[in-house]
Amino acid sequence: MARFADAFLRRREASVLLVALGLMVYFRAVSDVFLTKDNLINIAQATAPTAIVAVGIVLLLVSGEIDLSVGIVAAFAPFLLHFAIDFYNVPALLAFVIALAIAAFIGLINGLIVTKLHVASFVVTLGTFFAVQGLLLITSHAYPVPIPESMKGRFQTWIGAGPWASIIWALIIVAIFHVVLTRTRWGLHTISVGGNPVGATEAGIRASRIKIGNFMITSALGGLVGIMEAARINTIDPNIGGGTTLTFYAISAAVIGGTALAGGSGTVAGAFLGALVLAELQNGFNLIGYSANTIYLILGLAILASMIANQYLSRLRRAGRT
């Protein structure tokens, strides 16, 4: 028993799982509705977008990079879908693929500038953030539009409007990329490139290819989240469903989940739990009756506290026996 407990606690995800469960118990105690079905759907729908984008952020952080533009790509993608369907009569499913491909292309540009021109990803993606925001506001005239007719029905339900649709997508994506990061060559090389960039190159790993790939995955996941959110709220709005909030939530989820900003280590499953913790905090304090402004303050402090705790715990883990 003690050995199980020990093995569990030395897993990177353990601490954030305990926090997620603790919050669940606490909010259930102070609010009867916290664990009702309707509210669980709320939490699930708040968790999913953050979790999906956080998957990409984890891959990038582990390979030693970051993407600040992913949130605005999420806002842009449903407009691409709308343009393709309503202006060019493209079938909905094909338009969906095109929108994701264009999102991935933005990731490709980020990756190429970072790896070939050797500009820090923080700066590059800050640039792409504003550039894509400009494109978004120009092409949409800053007005929201209803989702295209041909998207309605089964496609809309499956992609995001169904009560559990988004969280199921999130769980599938998290499961896939957890395996990718821990059990495949791509994951091993992602860790290598972030852990020891020179050493990885000396071993013949093509660092640029790994990084560019991870930028493309992140952007494509951002695009997917944007389309999912548009399907859920039935509107394509340039001002919500993306932007900086989604990016910052995703980075917070990744870091709360136990991913280091320094590169070389991180966990996708942890990032999912991080997104769950953020959603619980927001939802729970909302139920208790705090105003939205107070919740931001609490959220900020909670993020700081969990990041400090994580830093401390991972140091303990590293010092631990082997």
Binding site: T184, S192, N196, A200, T201, E202, G204, R206
Partner: protein
Amino acid sequence: MTTTALQVNGIAKRFGALTALRDVTLHVDKGEVLGLIGDNGAGKSTLIKILCGYHRPDAGDIIVDGTPVVLRSVDHARSLGIDTVYQDLALINELSVYHNMFLNRELIRWPLLSNRVMRRRAAEHLKDMGVNIPDVTVEVAKLSGGQRQAIAVARSVYSDARVLLLDEPLAAMGAKEGALILDLIRDLKRRGSVSVIIIAHNYAQVLDVCDRVNLLQHGRITFDKRATDTSLEELTELVVAEYRRPR
């Protein structure tokens, strides 16, 4: 059938204003161990990094097994049988011992890594070498300098390389681990299939294990003798003479 495993002619390399290599010509025969000595900054590591495909030379030819080649990348050099132990070891601290030993040569059962097979083989290889690492699943970060060096060497030795480049493989080694690496090189020599170029500062060890010694000075090879035809005194004198001359 040629007996030269690797030959380079007139290799030059500049980094901006710094000329690292002027005109390097050397060769290593099949099954031969060549010792490369020289001052710090003489260009030894640069030469190794050119031979392994990490840097491209500005001028000169590289001939592998009698065929002129342009080494496009480390991967390409590896595919031609040239493998390297770098001075900085090129280990990934965050990965386990066995993942490091199979880095960029992972065994795959698509799409997943064959971790169990890699774990077993890594443990076998290290045991064969006499390296005492009880658990190959440990992160490399937790090992001592000597153990890390042994893993880096083991990784290249078991890669089926035909030309092995060792950049100061004895630098971080204690006496015991150093002897282990030297034994390994002797063992390779006995098998006769692998050529080795080894950079070292300990001339006694160089004379002990190498067939031939080259001295690299100011980006040129200035000395080439069989180990049996030279002595510790001569080698020391050669390197120190240059330092004394201007005085």
